[in-house]
C-alpha cells in the first residue's frame, strides 16, 4: 500500500502549487520570446537574481526586519485593543450601550482616508504608521470578539452556573473558550489586513521597509526589485495565514471542524 500511496500524497501536496508554477513558466516564455517587454514585467529569472543580490548584500533583511517590526507592533496594539474592547462590550451591556455606537461610526471611516490627518498629527514618522495599522486592524478584532462573546450558548452558561461556576471561573471555562472560534477569525482577518495597510503606510514616506524598497526601485525603473517587494508581501501574507491556522488548530482542537 505504502508505495502506491506516496506518489498520490505527493500529488495532493503539490496540487495547490501547480497553477503558480505554470504561470511562472508561461511568464518566462513570454519574456524570452519578446512578447512582453522587461520594462512592463521583468522575466522571473531576473526577479530571482534581483532577490539573490538583495539577499546577499543584506539590504533585503534590513527592509524585511523593519517591515516585520511595524506589522507586529501595529497588530499588537490594534488587535490587542480590539480584543479588550470586544471582551468588555461583549460581556457588559452597559459598556456596549456606551461605546458600541461610537465604534460602529468610526468603523465606517476607511483607515486610509485618515492619511492626511495622520500626517498632520504624527508627522511622517513611525507613530503615523503605527496609528494607521492599529486603527485598521482594530475593527476586525473588535467585531469578531464582540460577536463571539455574545454568541456563546446561553444553555452552557446556565449549566455552568448551576454547577457553581461564576465570575472569573465562568469566564475562563465557558465564555472565553466559547468565543474563541470567533476571536480567531478576527485574528486571521487582522493578520491579513495588516500587510495591506503596511504597503500603503510604507509608501507615504519611509527610510526603510519593503514599501520603501519598492518605491525606491520604481524611481530607478528597477522593475525586478519592485517585483521582489510584491512577492515578499505575498509570502508574508501567506506566512501570517499559516500562523493563524496554526493557532486555530491548536486552540480549537476539540472542534471536529478544525481537525
Amino acid at each position: 500500500m505504502a508505495p502506491a500511496r506516496t506518489p498520490a500524497r505527493l500529488l495532493a501536496a503539490g496540487a495547490p502549487w501547480a497553477l503558480p508554477l505554470l504561470l511562472i513558466v508561461v511568464w518566462q516564455a513570454a519574456a524570452q520570446t519578446g512578447l512582453m517587454s522587461s520594462r512592463i514585467l521583468p522575466e522571473p529569472w531576473a526577479v530571482a537574481t534581483a532577490f539573490w543580490h538583495l539577499a546577499m548584500s543584506g539590504e533585503l533583511w534590513t527592509h524585511l526586519k523593519v517591515s516585520l517590526w511595524r506589522a507586529l507592533a501595529g497588530f499588537a496594539v490594534g488587535a490587542g485593543l480590539g480584543l479588550l474592547l470586544g471582551l468588555l462590550n461583549g460581556s457588559s451591556r452597559r459598556a456596549a450601550v456606551l461605546l458600541d455606537t461610537t465604534l460602529q461610526m468610526v468603523r465606517n471611516i476607511p483607515a486610509l482616508a485618515l492619511i492626511p490627518l495622520v500626517i498632520l498629527w504624527f508627522g511622517i514618522d513611525e507613530a503615523a504608521k503605527l496609528f494607521l495599522l492599529s486603527v485598521g486592524v482594530f475593527f476586525p478584532m473588535y467585531l469578531n470578539t464582540f460577536h463571539g462573546i455574545r454568541a456563546v450558548d446561553p444553555a452552557l452558561i446556565e449549566m455552568a452556573r448551576s454547577y457553581g461556576l461564576s465570575g472569573w471561573a465562568l469566564y475562563r471555562d465557558v465564555i472565553l473558550p466559547g468565543a474563541l472560534p470567533s476571536i480567531l477569525v478576527g485574528v486571521r482577518f487582522s493578520l491579513g489586513l495588516v500587510w495591506v495597510l503596511l504597503i500603503v503606510a510604507e509608501t507615504i514616506s519611509a527610510q526603510a521597509g519593503i514599501g520603501y524598497m519598492t518605491m525606491n526601485a520604481r524611481e530607478f525603473l528597477q522593475t525586478d526589485v519592485v517585483l521582489v517587494g510584491v512577492l515578499l508581501y505575498a509570502l508574508l501574507g501567506k506566512a501570517a495565514d499559516v500562523a493563524a491556522r496554526g493557532l486555530e488548530r491548536h486552540f480549537l482542537r476539540w472542534n471536529p471542524a478544525y481537525l
Binding site: 452552557l156 473558550p177 476539540w254
Partner: protein, 265 residues
C-alpha cells in the same frame, strides 16, 4: 435471635435512602410568562429517596416546574423547600441536551465545579461505564454516551436531589432502555430523591415510585406505582398501568377535539 438477611438488607437500604435523599415540598407554586399562567398553585410533597416521574403533554408546564425546583426560574408565587439535614442540600439537574463543554475533555467536564476532583470524576465516569473515554472530546461521543457523561457530572456531586429534564428524549429506543436501567441502578445504590420529567409514559412506569400528571399548570393526577423492581415491560400489570396513565394524559386532548367538533356542528 434469628434475622432474615434479605429483610435486614432491605431495611438498611430504606434507612440509607432516607438519610441520603432530600425531601421536597412545593407550596402554591405559581409561574406566569407574558400574562399566561404556566404553573397555577402546585402543591406537592416528595419523600426522601422517592423516585417521582412528572408526565404531561408538551407545554403543560412540567419543565417549568422542574426549573423552578432547580432554582433556574424564580417562581412568581409560592415556595420551594428542599431539605434533609442541617446544611443546604446538594441539588443537581440533568438537561434534555447533555450540555457538555465541547472544549473540555470528558473527564474535565465531569470534574466541572470540583476542586481537585479528578479522582472522584474518574470514579463517577466508571460508574456510568465510560472510564476509558476520560481523555476524549465530547464531539466524538454518541448521544447516549454524552448523556451518560452528563449523568456522571451530576452524580459526582453526590446529589440528594437529582432533577432530570427529559434527559433521554433524544435517544434511540435501545439506548433509552439502557439509560433507564443505569439510572435505576444508580438510584437504588445511592438513594437520592429523583424527579424525572418525561413525555414517555412507559419510561415513567418503568422508573417511578409515583407518577404525577400536570395539566394546564395544575397537578391533575398523583398515582402510586406499586410494581416490584426491576419492572418487566411485558407484564399485564405494567401494561394496564401504562394504558391507564396514557388514557388519562390523552383525555384532555380528546375533550378539546370534541369541543371543536361541537362548535363546528
Amino acid at each position: 435471635m434469628q434475622t432474615n438477611p434479605i429483610e435486614e438488607n432491605r431495611v438498611s437500604q430504606a434507612a440509607g435512602k432516607a438519610a441520603r435523599g432530600a425531601h421536597l415540598t412545593l407550596r402554591g407554586l405559581g409561574k406566569r410568562y407574558a400574562g399566561r399562567t404556566v404553573l397555577d398553585g402546585v402543591n406537592l410533597k416528595i419523600a426522601p429517596g422517592e423516585f417521582v416521574a412528572v408526565v404531561g403533554r408538551s407545554g403543560c408546564g412540567k419543565s417549568t416546574l422542574l426549573r423552578a425546583i432547580a432554582g433556574l426560574e424564580p417562581p412568581d408565587a409560592g415556595q420551594v423547600r428542599i431539605g434533609g439535614g442541617g446544611k443546604p442540600p446538594e441539588v443537581r439537574m440533568m438537561f434534555q441536551d447533555a450540555r457538555l463543554l465541547p472544549w473540555k475533555t470528558v473527564l474535565q467536564n465531569v470534574a466541572l465545579g470540583l476542586d481537585n476532583g479528578e479522582a472522584r470524576a474518574h470514579a463517577a465516569l466508571a460508574s456510568v461505564g465510560l472510564a476509558e473515554r476520560a481523555g476524549d472530546w465530547p464531539a466524538v461521543l454518541s448521544g447516549g454516551q454524552r448523556q451518560r457523561v452528563a449523568l456522571a457530572r451530576a452524580l459526582v456531586h453526590e446529589p440528594q436531589l437529582l432533577l432530570l429534564d427529559e434527559p433521554l428524549g433524544a435517544l434511540d429506543a435501545l439506548t433509552r432502555i439502557e439509560m433507564q436501567q443505569l439510572i435505576e441502578s444508580l438510584w437504588t445504590r445511592r438513594g437520592f430523591t429523583a424527579v424525572l420529567v418525561t413525555h414517555d409514559v412507559q419510561e415513567a412506569v418503568v422508573l417511578a415510585d409515583r407518577i404525577l400528571l400536570i395539566e394546564e399548570g395544575r397537578l391533575a393526577l398523583d398515582l402510586d406505582v406499586g410494581l416490584a423492581r426491576p419492572r418487566g415491560r411485558g407484564s399485564v400489570d405494567f401494561g394496564s398501568l401504562e394504558q391507564k396513565v396514557l388514557d388519562r394524559v390523552l383525555r384532555v386532548h380528546h375533550k378539546l377535539v370534541d369541543d371543536r367538533e361541537i362548535q363546528h356542528a
